[in-house]
Amino acid sequence: MSYTSALLAAGSRAAAALYAQAATTTTEAPAQQAPNPILPSSTELLWGTVSFAVLAFLMWKFAFPLVIKAMQARTDKIRSNLDEAENVRQEAQGILEEYQRQLADARTESNRIIEEARQAADQLRQDMVRRADEEVAELRRRSIEDLKAAQDRVMGQLRLQVRDLAIELAEKVVGANLDRERNLALVDQMIAELEARPAGGG
């Protein structure tokens, strides 16, 4: 920008010359004539040059970089915010997917547990039913045996009593003392014949 400063220096020299001229013209001719509407006036040229030079300097050196810096800062800020938002969004997406995966896992797991429990309960039920059935059968078998034993016992006693009773009765009826040993054997044989008959005849 060295030519800029050279330009500025040349401009300021020209401005100084113009200023001197303007100062003399205004002091020499205070009663102003109407200016030429087309040709440039030297004093206006001078003031315009000074104004614009000051403006250009201020803008080039200070004001414009400020605005550009602010715009750049905002651009950067917005870009970084957008990037950050994108990162956060992706992170959230990741977390969401993780949760959904965990949820799906948990659902599968719970289904598996329920299925297992159902199978276990089924098994247990079947076991219990089977065992109950077995117990019932055992109980029935034992009670039948008991009944049978009781029946046998009763039948034995009954047989002895009936035999004695019959002998006694026969002795009384016949009135003769028969050979007891032979009589007993006879009655026993008769009862055995009775037992050998079909149950319907008893």
Binding site: P40, V54, V67
Partner: protein, 253 residues
């Protein structure tokens, strides 16, 4: 009788502003100083504002900067022209403020309607694009810019003087005159209808007084139009400066 009522001042009188205070410091000088103050003020204000969300001034300033970046520099010079952004932006705002005083009450004069201001800016543009061309292409800048490629030898005798004249002499002149003439014409239009309104209102013939509404309405319409012209001419001057700089950077037509 009507002629006596309508006294139009000579044009020289319309642009005659007495100096006050400093030597030669007239209304035109004041407008130039105000244009400087406003432009610099806008940029300092916008640049120093610390809010992230831009306020109105920032929005205006930044949208103009962006417009000059995208609509002017990148269209005419490409990325290479970005180093002139600060200058073109300053130029645009300075010309705009010089122009807009045409319709600001109590000022009502565009500084750019005085040849000094457009001439100054056009000369700066002229010096800039010649310096840029010479710095970039050396002395071949001159020969390249007056001799378009692919022109038959016989035609060169015609083309070279024309190009020489148009690139190095007519360009700054036409640039200055375009702005100057547009703004002076606008000012004269406003003055004409204002004078006409005043003359009709002050007429001794009673039935002419209501007719004053017509030039008054015209004056109002032209005021609006001149606001548009103020922006348009500032833009035209800025984009032509960019175009000339661009033609110095990329000489090939």
């Amino acid at each position: 009788m009507l002629e006596a009522a309508l006294k139009f001042p000579p044009i020289g009188e319309l642009v005659k502003w007495p100096a006050f205070g400093l030597p030669g410091f007239n209304k035109v000088a004041l407008i130039c100083v105000l244009a400087t103050v406003f432009t610099a003020g806008l940029f300092f204000w916008a640049g120093m504002s610390k809010t992230l969300v831009p306020n109105t001034v920032q929005n205006i300033v930044e949208s103009v900067v962006e417009f000059i970046t995208d609509g002017v520099i990148l269209q005419t010079m490409g990325q290479e022209g970005m180093k002139y952004l600060w200058y073109l932006t300053s130029l645009f705002f300075f010309i705009f403020f010089c122009n807009i005083f045409e319709i600001i009450p109590f000022m009502q004069f565009p500084a750019s309607a005085r040849m000094a201001i457009p001439l100054l800016l056009a000369v700066i543009t002229w010096v800039m694009y010649i310096v840029v061309g010479l710095k970039k292409h050396g002395i071949s800048y001159v020969s390249k810019s007056v001799k378009p490629p692919g022109v038959p030898f016989a035609l060169l005798f015609l083309i070279i003087p024309i190009e020489l004249l148009s690139t190095f002499i007519v360009r700054p002149f036409s640039l200055a005159v375009r702005l100057f003439a547009n703004m002076l014409a606008g000012h004269l239009l406003l003055v004409t209808f204002a004078v006409l309104t005043g003359a009709l209102l002050g007429s001794s013939i009673v039935f002419l007084k209501p007719v004053a509404i017509l030039p008054l309405a015209m004056d109002i319409a032209i005021t609006g139009f001149e606001a548009f012209v103020a922006i348009l001419q500032a833009f035209i001057f800025t984009i032509l400066t960019a175009v000339y700089l661009g033609s110095s950077i990329h000489i090939e037509h």
